[in-house]
Amino acid sequence: MTTQMTTPVSAPVNDPAALPRPLTFRERHESQIRQWRLYAHMFRKSFSSMLGLTLVVIFLLLAAFGPVLAPFPEAASGAIDMSNKLMPPGGANWFGTDEMGADIFSRVIMGARTSLWIGLIITGIGALIGVPLGIIAGYNGGWVRAIIMRITELFLAVPGLALALAIVAALGPGITNCVLALSLVWWPGYVRLVEAKTLSVKEELFVESARSIGARTPWILWHHILPNCLSPIIVKMSMDMGMAILSAASLGFIGLGAQPPAPEWGAMISVARTYMPDWWWYSLFPGAAIFLTVLGFNLLGDGLRDILDPRSRDR
């Protein structure tokens, strides 16, 4: 195709061989800087990506500085103030108070940190198990692939949440067990994704080229296959953050995850359920927090997918 618009680097005319002085950081990394600016430019153009990024940044800030920002940090640790119970939003309690008189605004803010580490651990463990298995399955083929993929499919055949439920039920309710259970059901998605990507990357000429210079398999996997599988992994992890938070909240909601009075959004809604609809604010605000966080991570993932798409690369 002749429409391809590459930008050949023009060689310095005078003496191409000589490098008169050590290059500055900027000169050495010119290519990367341009690439990142291009990413930023494309990302900024899309409203939904920016909305996603904003939501995620707010969420991260709340998680980082929650205890400082919350007006009543003691509300998270189960402080009881019965004189103030179930107050509607307004005044000192922006989101109202719950049946123990704790400030819901503070509890929602404090819940961000819980949700963040739930999301990070679940997607992290999921990727840590799934990515290596996927690469090995895709690159090796044969019976190794058959075994890994059959086990993966076995896990995929059972609905993830139902399986996690069974595991938590066996281990006993609690936030640690909940995270553990979800991590254990989260990896098959990564195996599938990475295996498919590996299958296509390993047919690329540069992999054969690496073989022809005598590269060993681990070198090829680490230096050639993995970097080229990275974009879909990043996109999936970003979207999975939202889903993992939602799943953990679901387990919390049915009482198998975090236990009240821990400030976890799912657990808060679980208690608030009995106060519907008269004391609507009790469930609305934790629910909105879950909604906005999941939305934010999904939009961010969509945006990342668009800019990491190889078809939009060489511009």
Partner: protein
Amino acid sequence: MTGPLLNIKNYRLDIGTFDGPVHVLKDINLTVNRGDTLGIVGESGSGKTVLVRSVLGIGPKNSKVIEGSITFDGQDITALSERDWTKIRGIRISMIFQDPMTYLNPLFTVGRQISDVIAAHEKAGGQGVSSKAARRVRTEELLDQVGLPNPAMLFSQYPHQLSGGMRQRVLIAMALAGKPDLLIADEPTTALDVTVQAQVLDLINSLVEKLNLTVIMISHDIGAIATIAKRCAVMYKGEIVEQGLTADILSRPQHEYTQRLLAAVPDIDAAAAKVAAESSPANPAKPGALLQAIDLKKIYRSQSGTEFAAVDGISLSVKTGEIFGVVGESGSGKSTLARMLLRLIEPTSGDIIFDGQSISGLTGEPLRQMRRHMQFVFQNPHSALNGRHTIGDAIGEPLHIQTGMSRRDIEARTEALLDIVQLPKMFKYRYPHELSGGQKQRVCIARAIALNPRLLILDEPTSALDISVQAQVLDFLQQLRAELNLTYVFISHNLAVIRQICDRTIVMKRGEIVEQGDTEQIFLSPRQDYTKALIESGRKTSRAASLGPRADRIR
């Protein structure tokens, strides 16, 4: 009927990119009269495809017409609505594309696809769609017109059952379905084998005469243009640098770029002025074979159990210091052979001997060590480099893997290698997508010679490159061989290139050696019919042929 059919005036087109607008077309002036055959020659990135696509209203995204107009049959089509386009596109102007496989839908029969095109035209033309039977008759007529045998049977065949040349004919039939005033052919022969190329060009020529077609053909291959086009325009960096009668341009190129382009075309009829390897004092004593293959076979078994021999019992012997050519059309097994010589593909049977040692039994560490001595340069430099590694990483990779050199030494050696392949040292910080094709191929060569190998296997190293770049790379390869005392196995489908640089050559067909011997001897007195046919078709598009009889015919 008086004015020109197509008139492009002061046409300028920009494409908006992240780095600001790129001026893709600069002040294009071009007229095409009825019955004209116009060729547009240019290298990749010269803007020729963008130009003809603009004529068809399918220009690139984010493009903006800055100035000028395109008039088709008296009507300004620069800013036509999508609705009005449907009456022109495919009906009055139609196009043949480069790759016949990707433009046919594998799920439908050939007949159905052409019938659908006819129906679409009838619908767009405002008249009712004719009956299925009527369309079938018309389709078979079209298939017959493009010289396909047995149209009735072909009607119900699927694209995968046809060869590349037949598919291209089907596409031409499809393009003719609307009885177009103007036919645009975008590199119609590039994806085809030499012998098929010649046939397709003949077909286009005969259609021009029979149907009084007006044709614009674009190609990077000046030989193909010369066989078709009476008039010709040369494009370079978005400009038309020269236009006029093809014969004039070929015999008396005015612009410096055209001269350069013509000089770069390898001539199949020119005996190469080789850097005589035999007389070179650098490698006197060792006339022995560096690489030998004995009865090498690769058999693939399909799922239905039938066996297919990609390489069927090939024996060859490459002497130290020579350039050994392997020539053949696609599917002849030459790439499979090359990969087997390096053990990238396991041979089914046979033996490979490198420097007196059999390497077909090697595994693990000894095989890895052996790979130092023989290296591979791939056909497509665009995909042979990992897009996520810098050029420095790519060249340094073999040193990392095969030697215990320190990081600093590797850096130094990388810079030295960039020097050898005549690229600036700055490039080690660049990424492959920032380099042009020729530059990338030089990087691939630098990578291949990093470990001081003794043998390089070059699998069509220039076929993905522009002609002027091809000439540079070929020169460079010869120079390099003299400097580093290398032996080459050079694989190509391009006979002119083979003749230019190879000492000895084998001709392959369907996994077997048809003919072998001295390159000059093969070209001067081919013994086998296949070789004769191959050379004859190569000659057809070669410059010499087009300058000779064709020029006479025009005068």
